[in-house]
Structures are given as structure tokens and as C-alpha cells.
Symmetry: C2
Subunit: 438 residues, 2 copies
């Protein structure tokens, strides 16, 4: 018998929750089958990675501190190496970036620079979950990082129908009323209006305005997550973010540099300009309350990591759209390659369907049989291709007849190989389930 000191049931329930074990499971499958083609990973493209740029970015930010902000050499060293401002040291550059790329005017004091967007989510949910009557809404299927963060603070997440418009507003309103009738307090609704993970669906501008109107009427906070907005596949204008349309401070905006600069810096941020009245009568931005929580989670985001991001921003005049011309083209090419490849392999009118997102990293394929973890294992072992069962993005644990394909970390050649293998799997599964009516 192996010695045991603790049993998992004596620990916080989150550690045994599917939401926290989902990523682990998917990573383990990927590790067990290293030769499989991965259409599962949502990691950014690596072809342009070069860790040799890090000293240049650091140096660029050091020069900014000295030349633009007038810091002495000792102050520069202190800024990079010492404990520092809880809300961060690249907030002014983030504010500039949001102005340049999103036409968004943001007071830098309403920004908290976080350890990746994940910490931003955690801080917001920790602040909003004050008691057992609190409940969060999220468009389903939902990014598992949101569900996981909610688990850590014991905040229930109720799914809102997504659908082709990105969010079913009638369902959201009905759910809000139902929750209130149950004595619950809706604290917010999590949305990803641009090329959502995992659905790939976007909201058009009219839908964004309707959602904002509903949020104002229902006094609902919207938590807008925007990791993929800079990667449209087409050439048209990008629609404004919810935050850019938000004249009533109903939107908390979550930002990430993982896809637009690099994941390894672990730098994200939250814009929280909501005015909060303190118990002492003072009024300040929600960002200041989030910063208090952050001071007890990570103290502050590594200024070295922030300097890398700051240097990258400065190197491109704070435009990440400009910085990501190559990456955007690669993602657009891959997305087209994948959906074209699906069309070549699965005849129209057949039992296999998929959406054609306007950008981002993800495509959802629907099939007429349940897609579960056992099928993923079989796909990896026998067919050599990885993808993500859509069931991982629903909270009820049921198998869903759909799978998510990711185009971000692969080349067109690998997409072809992966689709050939996926087609073989699907063909065999279809044969096993027999004739299917759509």
C-alpha cells in the first residue's frame, strides 16, 4: 500500500472538478501521443518565435523608462527588479494600444496588469462572488478557464444559449429573471464577442448594441474577453469591441498578450472602470478593488515580464495589429485551409457539418455520434490525430456530438494530414453507427 497523508475529498472541491481536470486530461492525451497531429492545441503559432528578441524588448523598455519617462538609472533598475506598483507598470502603454488598435479611450488608472488573462478572470470573479446567492452567466459553450476560475471561488456558472448570433438575448433575459425569482443575484455575464473559444462565432455590431442595451436595462455587468479579436480572416473592418461601444460602464474588458505578443510573458490585463463607492465614502474604479485582491494573489505582475511586453508594444508604436501582420496572415491562411479541407473531405448534405468562422483559431465540427474522451483516445491511438471534445466546454459533463478543431499551432501540411486522419476516424464511426438522417 502506498502511504497516504490526505484524501482529495478533504481539499477544496475545485481540485476534483471536471473544469480543473479538463486541461490536464487534454494535455496528458497530447503527451501520450506525441506523434499525433494536434488540431487540439489553441497555442499561438511558433514559426515566428525567437527568444533572442527578449533582450531587445527589455532594452527598449528600459530606454523608454529613461528617455520618455525621465527615470534615473537607479530608478530604472528599481522599476524592473524591485517590488512595484500592484496595478502594473505598462498600463499607459496598454491604454495607448487600446486607443491605436481598438479606438478605445481608457484611463490607465482603470487598468490592472495581470499574470495572464487568467488572473484577470480570477480577480474579477473573486471580487464579484460575495455570497452564496451570487451567480454568473456565460455563453455556452464556455472557455474552460472561465469555468475553472469560477469554481475556485464557488461561483455557479449558468449557461446562456449562444447560437449563430453569439448570444441568445431572449435566453439571457429569461435566465436573469429566473435566477432573480429564485433569490439569486446575477453578478455578470461572460462573453467572447470575437471569434469565440470554442465556438468560433462572433457577434455583429447590432447584436453588440442590443446586448449592451439589455445589460443596462437589467443592470448586468458584461465580462468581455477578447484574446482573438486581432485575427480576422478577412480584409474588412473589425467590429468595435463591446467596451468601445460601452457608454454606461457596463463592460469589464479582459485583455491578453498571449496571442498577440507571446504566452511566456504571462501578461494580460483587465479594464475595470466601474465606479465603486467604498465603505468610507470614497469612490474609485473597480480596478482598485481588483488590485487589492491581486496584492494577496501575486502581489504584482513581474515587471520583467511586463517590460518584455512593454518593449514589444513600443517596438510597434503600440499597435499589435501592425505587430501581427505575419501572424494574422498565417492564421487566416490556416483557417481557410481547414474549412476548405473539410469541404473537400465531407460532401455537402452529408452527416458532417462545420461552421466557417470569420477569424480566430477555432472551428466546430458536428457529427451524428457522441464525441467523448474515449473517442479522443481512440482517435489519438489508432488514427494519430488530436482534437477537443466539445463536451469539455459544457458544464454538465454530457457528451456532445461535436468537436473543436484549432488552426493556430499547425502548418497547412499538418492540417491536411490531420484532416485525412480525422476523415478516416469519422468514416469508421459513421459505418459503426449505420445510416444517419441529418
Amino acid at each position: 500500500m502506498e502511504p497516504v497523508d490526505l484524501t482529495v475529498d478533504t481539499l477544496h472541491a475545485s481540485v476534483d472538478d471536471p473544469a480543473l481536470n479538463s486541461m490536464n486530461f487534454l494535455n496528458e492525451v497530447a503527451q501520450h501521443y506525441p506523434d499525433a497531429v494536434s488540431l487540439a492545441a489553441g497555442r499561438p503559432y511558433e514559426e515566428f518565435f525567437d527568444s533572442g528578441v527578449l533582450p531587445a524588448y527589455l532594452d527598449r523598455f528600459r530606454r523608454h523608462l529613461a528617455d520618455d519617462l525621465g527615470l534615473s538609472p537607479a530608478q530604472v533598475d528599481r522599476t524592473l527588479l524591485q517590488y512595484g506598483r500592484t496595478k502594473g507598470i505598462v498600463h499607459h502603454l496598454i491604454s495607448r494600444n487600446l486607443a491605436v488598435d481598438e479606438g478605445l479611450t481608457v484611463d490607465p488608472e482603470t487598468i490592472v496588469v495581470t499574470v495572464g488573462c487568467q488572473e484577470a478572470m480570477f480577480l474579477v470573479l473573486r471580487a464579484l462572488r460575495a455570497g452564496p446567492a451570487d451567480v454568473l452567466f456565460a455563453v455556452a459553450p464556455t472557455y474552460v478557464g472561465l469555468t475553472g476560475a469560477a469554481r475556485l471561488v464557488d461561483l455557479p456558472v449558468r449557461p446562456v444559449r449562444g447560437g449563430p448570433d453569439g448570444i441568445d438575448l431572449a435566453d439571457l433575459r429569461a435566465q436573469l429573471h429566473r435566477a432573480r425569482a429564485e433569490g439569486l443575484r446575477p453578478r455578470g455575464c461572460y462573453v467572447m464577442p470575437d471569434f469565440a473559444n470554442p465556438s468560433g462565432v462572433s457577434m455583429d455590431v447590432a447584436q453588440r448594441r442590443r446586448l449592451l442595451d439589455l445589460a443596462a436595462e437589467e443592470e448586468l455587468l458584461l465580462i468581455e474577453d477578447n484574446p482573438y479579436g486581432l485575427f480576422p480572416a478577412g480584409d474588412g473592418d473589425r467590429p468595435p469591441t463591446l467596451k468601445a461601444l460601452d457608454t454606461r460602464r457596463r463592460v469589464v474588458y479582459l485583455g491578453s498578450f498571449a496571442k498577440t505578443v507571446l504566452p511566456g510573458a504571462r501578461v494580460g490585463y483587465v479594464v475595470a472602470d466601474q465606479r465603486v463607492a467604498g465603505s468610507d465614502g470614497t469612490v474609485g474604479p473597480l480596478a482598485d478593488q481588483l488590485a487589492k485582491i491581486k496584492s494577496m494573489v501575486t502581489v504584482n505582475t513581474s515587471p520583467i515580464a511586463q517590460a518584455v511586453i512593454g518593449g514589444a508594444l513600443l517596438a510597434h508604436d503600440c499597435s499589435l495589429a501592425a505587430a501581427n501582420v505575419r501572424e494574422r496572415a498565417a492564421y487566416a491562411r490556416n483557417l481557410r485551409h481547414l474549412t476548405d479541407g473539410l469541404a473537400r473531405r465531407f460532401p455537402p448534405g452529408g452527416p458532417v457539418g462545420w461552421n466557417v468562422p470569420a477569424g480566430g483559431f477555432f472551428v466546430v465540427v458536428t457529427v451524428p455520434f457522441p464525441v467523448d474522451d474515449a473517442l479522443l483516445h481512440r482517435s489519438a491511438r489508432r488514427y494519430g490525430v488530436l482534437w477537443t471534445p466539445m463536451g469539455h466546454f459544457y458544464d454538465d459533463g454530457a457528451a456532445v456530438r461535436a468537436l473543436r478543431l484549432s488552426i493556430s499551432a499547425v502548418t497547412p501540411d499538418r492540417i491536411d494530414l490531420g484532416l485525412d486522419r480525422l476523415a478516416a476516424l469519422i468514416t469508421d464511426e459513421l459505418a459503426a453507427v449505420g445510416p444517419v438522417r441529418r
Copy 2:
């Protein structure tokens, strides 16, 4: 009237808690009086800071990945820039460091590299707080970061008497029994056996062994925090850490590189080798459960920040004792300078007392009048010296007749100036309160 969107009482109670506002308050006082001598800040000494070393550390770690671990250039880039292992990428170097400096044998798989030691605390407390009957113990006075992290997970912290031995074991045992009699479940006891913050007190080896025996008898987890252990003021051997004496896996060990390398990397770690039985019957280290939580808080610690720490470790053959010869001498000099300076300014047998710690950053001065935030403001404004009211380290909010002085971020000249000003304040306060019997 300023517009208000939310009131603080609708947010999680932690944001309005003294523990989370304490650091903010102290930072604000420091910012309001930038010319005051700060004997408050526990930040590391800055004289040896040089942000120019960062590229060298990064390069040292990149060469380690390539030369020692055999990674290809693409794998090196991926390791530094891409999403990565939740438990970290410098765990093997931390394990080596603990062997070299602490004579501690640690399986690298039981280490989680965290965003500073603060995240390590948060992860441990989040895992341990499973329900409303859970309670934590901590030697009082207590580091406010521990109390704050406990607030975030609604975990009550009960104070255990510290005293000259570092912890009053009879009080700990009585408190455990009392809590259990109340139907509560003690989840652990937080201790800082080496040069504690804020008390400066250390436990001797015999006391450490007694504490470990008590923990085994009472099935209590000890959470050992050791940020200052490498900074003894004398020349004798350092006592072994609790973890080095722990043969029964009763100790979760928290480590920090903030004082031994640099705070700006925001890299710490936790050693959690407790064997946890999962609901599926598998047994693994507590570290794996903490990693699941971490995946929903910060995903992983920035590999760039880890590379800086890894490079610094490699540059000194993984010995931080060797890396900190200059720093240790500076802290020892400052500590002696401060206690000698107190002795020169306050006559023996008088109303002012202080301890003479064997190392670390902090000295506690006791006075015969209440020391509160108002006195700190007056001290800053009229006398130009900052320190920390000891009341901030007790959870009941009462004013304590003691203040904490820190020697870490000042020079001997500034210590002299600060003590002159502190002596003036104390003299005036003593005159105001009239004759005092000790």
C-alpha cells in the same frame, strides 16, 4: 455627486478587510512622505541592483536548456515563449538549490513554481479550505500576506502565541483542542521559524523538533515560510529548516527568490510532498493538486521570469548562500547598526525595549504608549521617519504598544538619521504620557 456603479458591500468581503488594506495604507503613507526615512519597507537592498544582468541570466538559462538538457533551438524558444508546464521549468534547479543550501532532498515533482511566494500561500490555503468548519492557525504576530490570502478563501486564521521560542507549543495544542471541541477542522499552522516577519524571532533546533512531534501527534500540517533564512547576522551554522527535519511529510515548505535573487521576477515556490489519494484511487503529491488550482489562477509562472531565476541559480552553482555573500554582510551590518543605535539612544532599564534578532530584516521596538496609524502619520509628517505599527500584524485591529523597524532597504547613514527621528518622536510621546513604570 460622483456617479457610482457598485458599492463595496456588494463585493467579496476581503476587499474591505483590514488585512487587504494594510499594505495599501502603508504604501500610501510612504508615497505621501517621500522624503521620510523609511524603516518600514521590507524590500531587499538596492545597492547591488543592476538590470543589465537580466540578458546574461536569460542567456545562461537558454544555454542550460540547450547544453545540459539537450533541447533544440526551437525547443528552447518554445520553452521560454510558449505556454508551458504548470508546475514550472526551474523545479530541478530549485531542488538542487535546496540540496546545496539546506541539505534538503526534494523530488522536483513535488515542487510548484509560483508567481512569488504569495501565490504559493494562496494555492495552499485555497486547497486546504474546503468548507466552513476549516480553520488555520498562525503564529502571531503574523505576516499580513498570509492573513490576506486566507481572507480571499474565507479561511479564518486563529493566532497562536509566539513568544521568545518562536511558537508557544502549549498554546498551539490548547487551541487545536479547543477548535476541535467547537467542531472546527484545523487545516494547518503557518510558521516562519527563521527571523520571522515581523517579530524577528527564530526557533532553535530543539523547538523545531518539538513542533514537528506535536504536528505528527495532532495530525497537523505545518506551513513553513522561509524568506529570510539565508540572512543570519552571525557566523554560526544556520539551523536546519523544519522541512529538513521533517521525516513524516508534515511540512509544506514555501520558498521565495524575492530576497535572494530579485523581487521583480515574481518567482517563488512550494514544496508539497504530502501524498494525496484522488477520488479515482490514484495517489500523487499535493503539488499536483496545487498545480490544478494554479492552472486556473495564473496558468503557469512566466517561463521568462523563471529563466531569470534559473540563470541566477546556475551562475552560482545553485547556491544562493554563495550568491548572497555581499547582501548577507550588508543586512548583518545594518541589523547590528540598528540595535547598537537603539542601545545608544535608549538607556537600559528605560521604558523603550527591543529584541536583538539573530538575523533577517526586522526588529520590534516596544514602547509604553499605543502605536497606531495616527501615530505613524504624525511620525511621517512631523519627524520624517516611517516604520510599521505592529497592530497591522494582529488580526483584531487593536493598537499594539510596539512598532516594527526594517533594516533591509536602508544604509547605515539612513538608519542613524531614522533612529534620531524616531528617538525624537518617542521622547515627545513619553513626555506626553507622563512618567511610566515598566
